[in-house]
C-alpha cells in the first residue's frame, strides 16, 4: 500500500483502512454510496503527484484511498469539434499524445505530466508553462462526470461551446481538491497545432523592464505569445554552476533575463513575428540584448536553463519556497520589497525569484547563504514564509498560485482568505457533502 500513502515531498505519510481501485464511474459511485451510508471518509487520488498533501490519507487508518488509476478509457476523440472525452485516470502525457494523434494540440504541460492524471489536474486546477496563452486546467474543460458524495453520478460532459442553461457546475468541481465530488471523466478542449515556435532569451536591467517587455510583446505578437518567464542573474549562475552542459546564451552579464516563446500558425510566422518584435523591442529600449534560437536544439537548450532552476537550487543547498501570485503590474515592486524585508531579517539569504511573469506567478524561492548549514537554514521556513506571505496579502496576491491548498496550507488559508468567501465555501461544502466524507481535513 505504501505508494498510495506517501507523497512526492515526503511531508506526509498516511495510513488507510483500504486502497480501493474501481474500474469505472459506476463503481466509483457505488463505493461512495457505501462510504456515505457508513460514514467512511474517502481520499480521492489520481497520479499521486500533488505537492500539498491533498491526495494523502491521515494517520488514523480509518480513511480509504480511492484511486482513479483504473479509469483510463478514452471515451471519444473528435477533432472536428475540437474536443476529447477522457476518463480521470488517463495521464496528462497520454492526453497530449491523443490530441497529437488527430493533429490537434492539448496545451496543459507540467513537470509531472508522465504520471499525473487528467482527473487530478482538474481537481487541483493545474497550471504549468502555457497558462499565459491557454489558461489553466480550468480553462481547458468543457464538461465533467462527477461522482457526488452520496453516490449519485452527475454529468455535464459534452462538446458544447455555448450552453446557458443554469449554474456552471463544471467550474465548481474544478479546483475543489476532491472535497465536493470525485471527477471520473472530462470533456477537454483541443486546439490547432502550432506550425512553428520561436524561442528567445533576453538580457534585462530589472523586473520593471521585464514588465514593459511583456506588454510590448503581447501587443506585437498577440495571442501567438505562448510563454514569458523570468529569472535573475543569480538563478542563471546557479544553473551554469550545477547543470552539466548549460551555457550562457548571451555574451555579457545582465541583472535579469526573460525567456519568450511565440507560436505561429502559418509557415514561418513564428520566426518572422519573433525577430521583428525583438528587433523593435531592442530599439525601443525594452531589453539590453536578445538571442533567438535557430534550431530545435537551441530552443530546447534555452528552455532547459529555465526548467533547471529548481534542480540547480537544490544542488546549491537548502531553499525555502513560495508559490505566489500578485497582479502582474506589481511584480517589480513585489520583488523589490520582498528582497528588502528578507534582507533585514536574513541578510545572508539569497532570494532567487523566478517563473511565470506572464501570469503574475513567481516561485519566490530563497537559497541558503553560501556555506551555511542547510538544516539550520531550513528551520527558518515558517518565519520566512510569514514575511513573504504577509507581503503577498498587502499586494492582494495569492499564497497558492498553482499548487493548491490540500493539507499543507489549510490552516494558512483559514487565516488569510476573505471570511465571507470562506463562509460561502463552507456553505457549498455543506450543501454537497453534508456528512463530510469527501477528503476531510483538506482545503477547508
Amino acid at each position: 500500500m505504501d505508494m498510495y500513502l506517501s507523497e512526492p515531498r515526503d511531508l506526509y505519510r498516511g495510513r488507510a483502512a483500504a486502497i480501493i481501485k474501481p474500474a469505472n464511474a459506476a463503481e466509483v459511485a457505488n463505493v461512495l454510496a457505501l462510504c456515505h451510508a457508513q460514514g467512511v471518509a474517502v481520499v480521492p487520488q489520481g497520479g499521486n503527484t500533488g505537492l500539498v498533501g491533498g491526495q494523502t490519507p491521515d494517520e488514523s487508518e480509518r480513511q480509504i484511498v480511492l484511486s482513479l488509476q483504473m479509469l483510463d478509457r478514452v471515451r471519444e476523440v473528435d477533432p472536428d469539434s475540437n474536443a476529447m472525452t477522457l476518463e480521470a485516470g488517463v495521464t496528462l502525457a497520454r492526453a497530449q499524445d491523443i490530441a497529437e494523434s488527430v493533429d490537434r494540440y492539448f496545451p496543459l504541460s507540467l513537470a509531472s505530466e508522465g504520471s499525473c492524471s487528467i482527473g487530478g489536474n482538474l481537481a487541483t486546477n493545474a497550471g504549468g508553462v502555457h497558462v499565459l496563452a491557454y489558461g489553466a486546467a480550468r480553462d481547458l474543460v468543457l464538461g465533467l462526470e462527477v461522482a457526488l458524495a452520496d453516490g449519485r453520478l452527475l454529468s455535464t460532459l459534452g462538446k458544447l461551446r455555448k450552453d446557458n442553461t443554469g449554474y456552471n457546475l463544471t467550474q465548481l468541481f474544478v479546483g475543489s481538491e476532491g472535497t465536493l465530488g470525485v471527477i471520473t471523466a472530462a470533456t477537454l478542449k483541443l486546439f490547432p497545432r502550432p506550425r512553428s515556435r520561436a524561442v528567445a532569451f533576453l538580457g534585462l536591467d530589472d523586473p520593471a523592464q521585464a514588465l514593459a517587455l511583456l506588454n510590448f510583446v503581447k501587443e506585437h505578437a498577440g495571442p501567438g505569445l505562448q510563454a514569458f518567464e523570468i529569472l535573475p542573474r543569480l538563478g542563471l549562475e546557479l544553473v551554469l554552476r550545477h547543470i552539466p552542459g548549460a551555457r550562457d546564451p548571451l555574451g555579457a552579464i545582465h541583472p535579469w533575463y526573460a525567456l519568450v516563446e511565440i507560436a505561429g500558425f502559418s509557415d514561418g510566422e513564428a520566426e518572422r513575428v519573433a525577430s521583428a518584435t525583438l528587433a523593435q523591442a531592442l530599439d525601443a529600449g525594452k531589453a539590453r540584448d536578445a538571442t533567438l534560437a535557430h534550431s530545435l536544439n537551441q530552443a530546447a537548450a534555452l528552455w532547459r536553463l529555465r526548467e533547471s532552476m529548481s534542480e540547480a537550487q537544490k544542488r546549491e543547498g537548502g531553499s525555502i519556497k513560495h508559490d505566489i501570485s500578485v497582479p502582474i503590474d506589481r511584480i517589480p515592486e513585489f520583488i523589490d520589497e520582498a528582497g528588502r524585508r528578507l534582507a533585514a531579517r536574513f541578510p545572508q539569504a539569497r532570494p532567487v525569484p523566478f517563473g511565470h511573469m506572464g501570469d503574475g506567478n513567481l516561485h519566490y524561492n530563497v537559497s541558503q547563504p553560501v556555506g551555511a548549514d542547510k538544516t539550520a537554514f531550513l528551520a527558518q521556513w515558517d518565519e520566512m514564509n510569514a514575511i513573504v506571505h504577509g507581503l503577498v496579502a498587502e499586494f492582494d496576491g495569492s499564497i497558492s498560485a498553482e499548487h493548491g491548498i490540500g493539507r499543507l496550507k489549510r490552516d494558512l488559508l483559514a487565516r488569510v482568505k476573505n471570511p465571507v468567501a470562506l463562509d460561502v465555501m463552507r456553505a457549498l461544502k455543506q450543501a454537497l457533502d453534508p456528512k463530510g466524507v469527501l477528503n476531510p481535513g483538506k482545503l477547508l
Copy 2:
C-alpha cells in the same frame, strides 16, 4: 415605473411594490439585508435588455425591482495588468471605450451593447460575435463583488491570473441570472488591440463544407480567427430583398455562405494570413468561391449582410425562433434532420438557420410560408419549438445557447435538464438563498 416593468420582446409586463436604485454596493447590500429580513422578493435589473424575462418582476406587485444603473463608477483601469474593475451599471459600450482609451481591447460585443450593462452581461453570461476567439462573458472575468441574499458583501475582485485557494466562487455567480446573488462590480480582462482585421465572404456547397472550412481556417489562422458565421442562400436573398443597399458580394449563386474574420497583431498580418488561407482553402476544395474585403467599408458591408438577418426575416413576415447549440461537428447533420422533420409537419415553412457556426450556436429561425397569415403561422410556435428542441436533446445540445433561461424557458428547463444537475442546482440555491428572496420564479 413602466420602463422597469416591461421588456424588449413585450412577452412579460410585471408590477412592482417599488423600484429601488442604490448608489453603491453598500446600499445594495443594505437593501438585500432588509428584504431578507422581511421576506421581500428582489428582482435585480441591469440595462433591461434580456430576452427571456429574467429581469421583469411578476404580476403580484409584491416584488421589488433592484436597479443597478446608478452603480456606474470605474474603480480601476490597469493596462499593465490587462485588467479593469467596473461597477455593475457601466454599459458594455462604455466598457469597450474605456479599454480603447488605454490602448486595450475588451472583446464582448452584442447588439444591445449601447444599453446593456456589465452586471447583466455577467449575470446572464452574455455571448455575441467574438465568443469563438475570446469566449463568452464568463471567460472575460477575473473576479466579482456580489451582494449575497442576506446582505453580506462577497468580494473575489482582483487582478490575479492564477489563484488556487479554494472553490471558484466567481464562476458560480456568472450566469446565475440573479438567483444566487447580485453582482455589484467586476474585474474584467483586457486584451491587446488587433492592428488589422480581414473579413472574407465565401460561397459554399453545404454546411458540411462549412465545417471543413472552419477547421481548415482554424489550423491556418490559429488564434487570429475572430469570427466564423454561416447563412443559407435564402437568408442572403431575404437580406438582398429587404435591406436597402445590400449587394451580393459574389457573382454566382451558392447554396450556403460563410463570413470569416481574421485579426492580425503585426503590420499587414491579417490580410497576409487571410489571403493565403483563402487561396489554399479554394485549392483544397473547402469553398466554391471567396471574396476578401479591401477596405473598411467593404468589410462593414459584408458584416451588414450577416447582421441584417434578423431584421430581414422580420420584414419577410412571421418567424419562429430557436437559440440552440449542438457539438460543432454535428451542425450539418442537425440542419439536415431539423429541415426534414419540419418539412414533414410544416411543408411550406422556410427554415433559415444562421449564426455562430464557430461556436456550434445556430439561430434556427423559421420564416412563414410565402403569402401565409402571420398570426396563424406564429400560433404554431410551441409545436415547432417542440420539434426543434426534441432534436436538440437527441443531439446532446442546448435549448439556450446564449440568451439564458429566465422566465421564458424555466418550465422547459425543468423538463429537459439532467435531473441530477437540477438537484445540485437546487441544493446550491438552497445554500445561498434559503429564503428564496433572489429573483424567484426565474431559472429554477
